[in-house]
Symmetry: C2
Subunit: 327 residues, 2 copies
DNA sequence: CTGAAAGCGCTTACAG
DNA sequence: CTGAAAGCGCTTACAG
């Protein structure tokens, strides 16, 4: 049963008949194998152009060759964070003639399942993992995964060993969270609230970790809350007996809500506020933030992936993305 | 060359050896073909479970069978709109044992190219088109597309005929935009500004169309502006000599920015403001909106797609999603 | 109800 | 430099 009963799709065999050149040679032209004479190469290229031949992914894949498709798994497709990273990855892939195909996980335990499925399909040259939840590292890495690169996370020291030695693209969260806190401190802040989001992942740990180190080292007053990305609700729910000098949020999304709350209470000029990521919102709503070059994370991830796929084994194992504090 | 030099992946042939049952029969069990005895079916199912056999997509695809993968193309992956629709689609697909693979277009002319590529791969059972830009309808539909369902758009009357007769899931934009305008009118609004976004697509036309019909019919004062989704900037750029009674925005994203501007100028209680979509932001920032059940759009789209894929030809050709005005 | 065989579209050693 | 052949993993008429 053919799936498309419409016009027959042009296979390499048909093209071979049409041109009188063997499919082996045509295949070599398509895959840019060097051992083809200039003359036949040209002839084939013209025919490909003329008839609009496009190789079938399934055929390629079955023959064990590269497909030019790379997968991407993201837990946060609804957040601006993932969307930007995906955008950067997509652009970079396209510029290399490849395609990104994304799959969104619905919850933390879903994520690993998705990786398992994608790997089983044996159809991707590689997979980019965006901000995987911590818990995937507790289980064994699925078998038969293609090349993997992890963005915005890296296997914890206690991770299952099957996850080690993967390329990672991470963000220098600690360094820049601390830098921001130092500036707040210099401007007189001595008491803090920290709002985490709801997910357990690398960025969350790193940012909160930096906060905690800072306030404990300086012996400052602080509290924290977590459970949602709605800053407005988190603020409302919190019974604050005494207002802090500053509120530090895991990301800009939370900070937006908090800002709205402060504005309503007329506190927006009394309490310092910071988010993280550098969303457009952070400009409109005027709070401090740390700008994360999200597009670049995706781009770098794809670059590393291609290096592995193409066997450049001297590639960096870890990329650390530098950020910029905006007060 | 095998792509994964690690542990050999288990093929149907190997499973046949392992169980002593022919691969034909195993295949029949996997595809749920009825002509298999209860006894062998059970035996095969146990073996599949035991050895963890998962069919290769490429194999299936080459043999002309269904793959259980449906593609999704979206122009707006960075917007909350698309993210929600994708989320609904993903959930529905998963509940039917299928997978959604998304690809994001970068600009309007990109969109069609993506559809062309996805179709050529011959690997998807169907493709969901989310809010395609108007201009794709000017060109011919690519050949060999699998089943298609269009969400948040439908071919214009003047579209190339190759686009006709596709299933569509659309939103009753006109009806509810008008309802909202009527309520504003009843509460005394007589002059309006309308902010479009930057894209030429179905929703944009419908919503602005409803607005225009309304103000022209009632002979009200109005102006409009377009070019970006940043409402704050659009407001700042606009030289308003006289403040309007109400500002109507294409979506909540724009309305958020406008709200921020009004708040800053202390105008937020003087001018009525509305967005569209029912983002969480519309609650936090307090403006009127029309709630669009975005998850349901994606869900319905996937349902229609499966009906076509499975050959239920009595399926509806058009789904119209009803909305809810929130003042 | 079950199996052997052909075929889907590719790639790549192998032989020339 | 080029081609014939084997093989990748599946499905499905066909024959029994």
């Amino acid at each position: 049963m053919k799936k498309n009963s419409g016009k027959e799709t042009l296979s390499i065999i048909r093209l071979a008949e049409l041109t009188g050149i063997s499919k082996s040679t045509i295949s070599r032209v398509v895959t840019k194998h060097p051992s083809v004479s200039e003359k036949t190469r040209e002839k084939v290229e013209k025919a490909i152009e003329k008839y609009g031949y496009v190789p079938s992914i399934s055929g390629r894949s079955l023959a064990g060759a590269k497909t030019g498709i790379i997968g991407l798994i993201s837990p946060y497709i609804a957040s601006g964070y993932a969307a930007e990273v995906i955008s950067g990855a997509t652009a970079e892939a396209r510029s290399q003639g490849a395609h990104i195909l994304c799959s969104a996980s619905h919850n933390e335990s879903d994520y690993l399942e998705l990786l398992r499925d994608m790997s089983r399909w044996r159809m991707m040259d590689g997979i980019l993992l965006i901000a995987p939840p911590d818990l995937i590292y507790k289980e064994k890495r699925p078998e038969n995964t293609p090349q993997l690169v992890i963005c915005s996370s890296k296997p914890a020291p206690k991770a299952d060993t099957s996850w080690k030695e993967l390329d990672t693209v991470t963000v220098a969260n600690r360094k820049y969270q601390t830098e921001l806190l130092e500036k707040f401190y210099e401007s007189g802040c001595r008491s803090f609230i920290y709002f985490s989001g709801d997910d357990q992942n690398y960025d969350a740990h790193e940012r909160f970790g930096a906060f905690k180190s800072f306030v404990e080292e300086k012996k400052l007053k602080w509290t924290s809350a977590r459970g949602s990305y709605n800053g407005y609700e988190m603020m409302s729910a919190m019974k604050v007996e005494k207002l802090p000098d500053a509120i530090i949020c895991f990301n800009d999304q939370i900070a937006c809500g908090v800002y709205q709350y402060l504005k309503e209470k007329g506190l927006d000029n009394k309490i310092k506020l910071s988010g993280f990521d550098g969303d457009p919102s952070s400009e409109t709503y005027k709070f401090s933030t740390v700008e994360v070059p999200l597009l670049q994370i995706g781009k770098t991830g794809v670059q590393r992936l291609f290096e592995r796929i193409n066997g450049y084994n001297e590639a960096k194992r870890e990329d650390i993305i530098e950020l910029k504090v905006r007060i």
